[in-house]
């Protein structure tokens, strides 16, 4: 039981990583990016491809993939998202869903249906673990993932708080018209925010590849995990996302104890329970808490 909880917490570290970019993008642009999961898989494939081709460590490959994904984010915002933001509330959903289909099938076309993993490329990191008193084992990779998630979230918060660009992003997210009047080019800020979001997606993709397997059609599942983590943890801070991600991971691991197939079911059920409580307790439901989430600072 304790072991399952510990493993769930570690798994939550990955979910926090993948949820980070989704909530960031929603917070700034009010876009729920349905291609989010597919982009994470795209990043995983890029890391895998570079690792294989150049025979380097995935961590080195990640150094190349983060800027590539960030550039992709910039282009995506400038070409598609800017336009879809201006054409009604349904358009961003439809256009990002279209992008997801293109990415998924494009990956299938290029890389085929095989499942891949980066685990063979990171040596003993993929299985080495420490054993705590009481027989609980803590995987080094899991701990690293959780650590990276925490560092990323703290880093993003510090960036938003203290960096000039971070402040411009917050200002634009709150009121793009007024930000323009302060000399801020809101289109560029949006593009920068999309670049940052996809940079985090690249990291999430790499860690997905190291801790598990992936194939071209794994994107939908990643989107769902990310969304569930954000919804479950919606307590009003980026730490909420981390907590939500951990709750999701723990619920899944406990669910797996009940039934071998209970892993995913437990996560989905937790998601719906949290959603139902929120909808019926508040008498209404909106994503305002999400808006506040990434913007608020640690006390």
């Amino acid at each position: 039981m304790i072991d399952q909880i510990v493993q769930g917490v570690l798994l939550g570290g990955y979910y926090a990583l993948v949820a980070c970019g989704l909530s960031f993008m929603y917070g700034v642009m009010r876009i729920i990016n349905l291609a989010h999961g597919s982009l994470a898989i795209l990043a995983a494939f890029l890391v895998w491809y570079i690792t294989e081709q150049l025979a380097v460590s995935p961590f080195i490959a990640l150094l190349i993939v983060v800027p590539i994904m960030a550039a992709l984010g910039w282009i995506l915002q400038r070409t598609v998202l800017d336009r879809s933001l201006r054409s009604g509330p349904l358009t961003p959903l439809l256009s990002t869903f279209g992008i997801a289909i293109i990415i998924d099938n494009g990956l299938f076309e290029r890389f085929g249906a095989d499942t891949r993993s980066l685990a063979p490329n990171i040596g003993d990191l993929s299985y080495k673990s420490w054993t705590l008193p009481g027989g609980v084992t803590v995987g080094q990779l899991g701990l690293l993932t959780l650590g990276v998630a925490v560092v990323l979230i703290v880093g993003l918060q510090l960036f938003l708080k203290y960096a000039p660009l971070g402040r411009a992003i917050r200002a634009t997210a709150e009121d793009p018209d007024t930000a323009e009047l302060m000399g801020i080019n809101s289109r560029s800020v949006y593009a920068a925010a999309a670049a940052i979001a996809l940079g985090t997606v690249a990291i999430a993709g790499a860690f997905l590849g190291m801790r598990a397997t992936f194939d071209p059609y794994s994107g939908g599942a990643q989107l769902i995990f990310a969304f569930e983590a954000v919804v479950i943890g919606g307590t009003g801070s980026l730490w909420g996302t981390l907590l939500g991600a951990i709750a999701l991971g723990v619920a899944q691991n406990l669910g797996a104890q009940v039934n071998p197939k209970g892993f995913l079911i437990a996560g989905h059920l937790l998601f719906f329970c949290v959603l139902a409580v929120r909808v019926f307790a508040a008498g209404g439901f909106s994503l305002n808490w999400l808006k506040a989430l990434w913007r608020s600072q640690p006390a």
């Binding site: 929603y26 876009i31 729920i32 349905l34 598609v80 336009r83 879809s84 054409s87 009604g88 509330p89 349904l90 358009t91 961003p92 959903l93 439809l94 256009s95 869903f97 279209g98 992008i99 997801a100 289909i101 293109i102 099938n105 494009g106 299938f108 076309e109 939908g220 599942a221 989107l223 769902i224 969304f227 569930e228 919804v231 039934n259 197939k261 995913l264 079911i265 989905h268 059920l269 998601f271 719906f272 959603l275 139902a276 909808v279 209404g284 439901f285 909106s286 994503l287």
Partner: protein, 330 residues
């Protein structure tokens, strides 16, 4: 003065359209007698596509609800048929009953689902579809991803089965088109279009927004369930992975966007376009799917009215008698 004014709903164009449609359906009803086995089964597929497109359009185009999880109802519709058949019910009555059962399920789900907004609703429905998929896999009858065949169908000779499927699909398509048509023509139809144009303004003139959306949500669920049940009758084997695939929703989105979101005729045209594209390029594999995604992207950004919406905007023609015209005595 007002005695000299009255309301007309039918125009000569719309009468011709409806008579024409009825005529086409009447001719199609004899399809299996002259079409041959290939076209009988191909047209069955087209009828199923039309149901899917019309239902997704009702949801997104009229109620403003973009769902990425309609495959939930599609898959559950098929699953219910397997279950009913296993319980001893004859196959075709089971196919007819499945949409009704799923409609009840959707009604139960609606209080939660309809309070979600925009992307929340879209992904929330997707999670629901995933959950439904996982729970169906737990059923020992289905044997996980292995799935189960609708064995009772083997009692029919292939030709008979093909013809039955055809008639059932044609019948279901006719019923759902008629339901949408009647809904749009009713006073609720005016409300539905008002919600589509401006939800808040609709509420301010007394439209029951929630109740109207619920009706559409339930109807769309029933339609997708019927399509799922019918697809099962053509494929025979129920494989959860196939039936709960998000691909079905991708098809629905493509058909609706290409044909024209928020019009009656658009999704029908979109389904026919999709059917033709699939017939021509379906065998070319993933490039075909990439092209579908790209078209969804292009239509949503640059041609948001779709084919039919663009045509009506240019020409002002109105085929279906769902509107109202005021006539004045000279």
């Amino acid at each position: 003065m007002t005695d000299a004014v009255w309301v007309r709903r039918w125009s000569s164009v719309s009468i011709i359209t409806i008579v024409g449609l009825a005529g086409i359906i009447a001719i199609l009803a004899f399809g299996p007698l002259f079409l041959g086995s290939y076209w009988t089964s191909r047209l069955t597929t087209l009828f199923i596509y039309i149901i899917l497109a019309v239902m997704w359009n009702a949801l997104a185009g009229y109620a403003g609800l973009v769902s990425v999880g309609q495959q939930a109802f599609f898959g559950l519709g098929a699953y219910v048929v397997i279950r009913l058949s296993d319980a001893g019910m004859p196959v075709y009555p089971a196919i007819a009953l499945a949409p009704v059962i799923i409609a009840v399920l959707a009604l139960v789900l609606s209080p939660l689902a309809l309070r979600l907004r925009g992307g929340e609703f879209a992904i929330g429905m997707w999670v629901f579809a995933e959950l439904a998929h996982l729970l169906v896999n737990l059923d020992s009858l289905i044997q996980g991803e292995t799935g189960r065949s609708l064995i009772a169908l083997s009692a029919f000779a292939p030709d008979v089965r093909r013809a039955n499927n055809y008639w059932f699909a044609l019948g279901a398509m006719t019923i759902f088109l008629a339901l949408v048509f009647v809904l749009l023509r009713s006073r609720m139809g005016a409300s539905v279009q008002a919600i589509r144009d401006n939800e808040e303004a609709a509420a301010s003139v007394g439209v029951r927004v929630m109740a109207t959306k619920r009706t559409i949500f339930v109807l769309a669920a029933a339609g997708c369930a019927a399509a799922g049940a019918l697809t099962l009758s053509t494929l025979i084997t129920f494989q959860p992975k196939t039936f709960f695939s998000v691909q079905w929703t991708a098809y629905m989105i493509f058909m609706t966007l290409v044909g024209g979101l928020g019009t009656f005729e658009g999704p029908i045209i979109g389904a026919i376009v999709f059917f033709i594209v699939e017939s021509l390029f379906g065998s070319s594999g993933v490039w075909y799917l990439i092209a579908l995604g790209a078209s969804a992207l292009v239509f949503s950004l640059w041609i948001p009215r779709g084919i039919w919406g663009t045509i009506t905007a240019r020409s002002g023609i109105q085929l279906m008698p769902i509107g109202y015209r005021l006539l004045f005595r000279k």
